[in-house]
Subunit: 362 residues, 2 copies
Amino acid sequence: MKRREFVSGLGGAAALAGCAREPAGQAAGPQNQQRFSWKLVTTWPPNFPGLGTGVNTLVRYIEEMSGGRMQITVYAANELIPALEVFDAVSRGTAEMGHGAAYYWRGKTEAAQFFAAIPFGLNAHEMHGWLYYGGGLDLWREVYARFDLMPFPAGNTGVQMGGWFNKRIDTMDDLKGLKMRIPGIGGEALRLAGGTPVTLPGSEIFTALQTGSIDATEWVGPYNDIAIGLHQAARYYYYPGWQEPGPTLECIINVGAWNQLPEDLKAIVRVACQAATLDMTSEYMARNASSLRQLEADAAVEILSFPPSVLVGLKALTLQVIEKLAAADPLVARVWESYRRFLDESEPWQRISEQAYLATRT
Amino acid sequence: MKRREFVSGLGGAAALAGCAREPAGQAAGPQNQQRFSWKLVTTWPPNFPGLGTGVNTLVRYIEEMSGGRMQITVYAANELIPALEVFDAVSRGTAEMGHGAAYYWRGKTEAAQFFAAIPFGLNAHEMHGWLYYGGGLDLWREVYARFDLMPFPAGNTGVQMGGWFNKRIDTMDDLKGLKMRIPGIGGEALRLAGGTPVTLPGSEIFTALQTGSIDATEWVGPYNDIAIGLHQAARYYYYPGWQEPGPTLECIINVGAWNQLPEDLKAIVRVACQAATLDMTSEYMARNASSLRQLEADAAVEILSFPPSVLVGLKALTLQVIEKLAAADPLVARVWESYRRFLDESEPWQRISEQAYLATRT
């Protein structure tokens, strides 16, 4: 994960999640009419499609449901603080609330990224299963408690695309020397394959790709990739997005601020996060589909599948990266154990349900 | 759709959806402190896993977020009215709120079932895309407005299983004479294949299958099927659930009751439905996965894929059934047109995203 990426606020991915399984609030009598005026700092450019607009949806839900008792002012990346400082700012209480993705905080704890996305790991549907019904959210809370933060899943982009390439990838050898903008564990896997992972803020990707200073880039998917013009800077658009199968976005809240909320407002924030998550996955479903149609009609774009040998190779390298992280940090080891246990169980079910159904239909 | 099915309250499937895209409520000052005491009638047995418990989650969300201003009493099937009368009871205002699935109301309007599940149609993820971002929810409101009902998506089981069979299905000929408990359009497709669709309440399925009075049954999936013991009544467990790829559950509200709610409570109900939807899909993801593991360890159960020729055959027959309904009813034709248009666009995207990713991982 490279710092400038996050500073830009155009940090690659999004996530799917919902809201927390708190102890139930007591249904009290007439509400505490205290008003709360909160700041929400985000890692996204203002109103960025899907990610930034998803934050706006979350805020709208909270304001509507609270009848105006909670007012939340959204600050896009760099408006109040740099994007990469969202975690620290909310931890300190400079802002009460933040929105981003947990893999941005690898520098704080390597365990964080399991709550966003892991290459070849859980997809969005499975992330929700793990977080809400598989112990994932409890672990996330434990990991963030040390930083005085309360995390909530608050969005997901669904499976991303593998990215844009200026040359074809036919074998693992084609990754050697490849300079690609790809963050996180996926980037480390590319490095083991002989490539050079690069981090660039979203605002610089287009130019870097067009001028040849990078050979390839991953970003999000058709809806967001068209928005920054990547289809005009590279010919080959590869799938699937092995590196981010269903990245969860997060809403983080300063624990001191959280504890001041009455029970009904706590419930409103929790449930709003869960609803905003489904809203975002639904938007990406609809808009990726229509944006793909646009790309398919573009003669300058070739949409290609990574060859199986490349995916098999990258999967093996990804496991090397993760095992090394787990060996170095007992907290990573515990989170990975829980995550992998869920994946071991969900995979056979997905094979005979979603996967079998989609294969049947086409 | 057969009446006894719904009366029993064990009516086959569930659904995924969220909440409505209403005009934003004005964030007013101190709340209207009026209290609302509502009845919610459901088509489910009390606390039935996933479906009934999902209703409890929805109610808990609303009560917690409203600080007790809304109190909702849940009536399971037959506690206040028979399951099949939920639609009429809420339409008349006998109860303010109901929970079930739209395909139960085919007798009111054939258009309703498109808002629950169509064989070989949209899966849960796509249903959400269509409902929230593809015009589906607007059409649903239009269809239900004639009945003084306001519908909200409020749950989804995800892809179901094809069902339990006491004989192997190797060709379309094996469907001839097959007596199978399967409701709706899927049942009509089976009839065209020479089989006999039967409707039975969930409480009678086990005995009917065990005594041989039916040869096969579909129900939901591992989590719910184990709950009623189907693995002890038949050997062959087939996938995928072509007949219900992602059934949406609904929350319906009497329009007169809805209009009495202040804006903040309207927002609370809407957002609670959307959050409860994600919660239910997450529960089914986790619990179907663990229940499948249990079935895989059971030597008396064989888990099999339908042969491609059977799926191709059933898909063609399903289209015949739908085209006939659309030719007979302009409202069905309009809804089908919107649904099919979304499916035409989502299918290519699913192919290179979820489907390609899941195939890669396994």
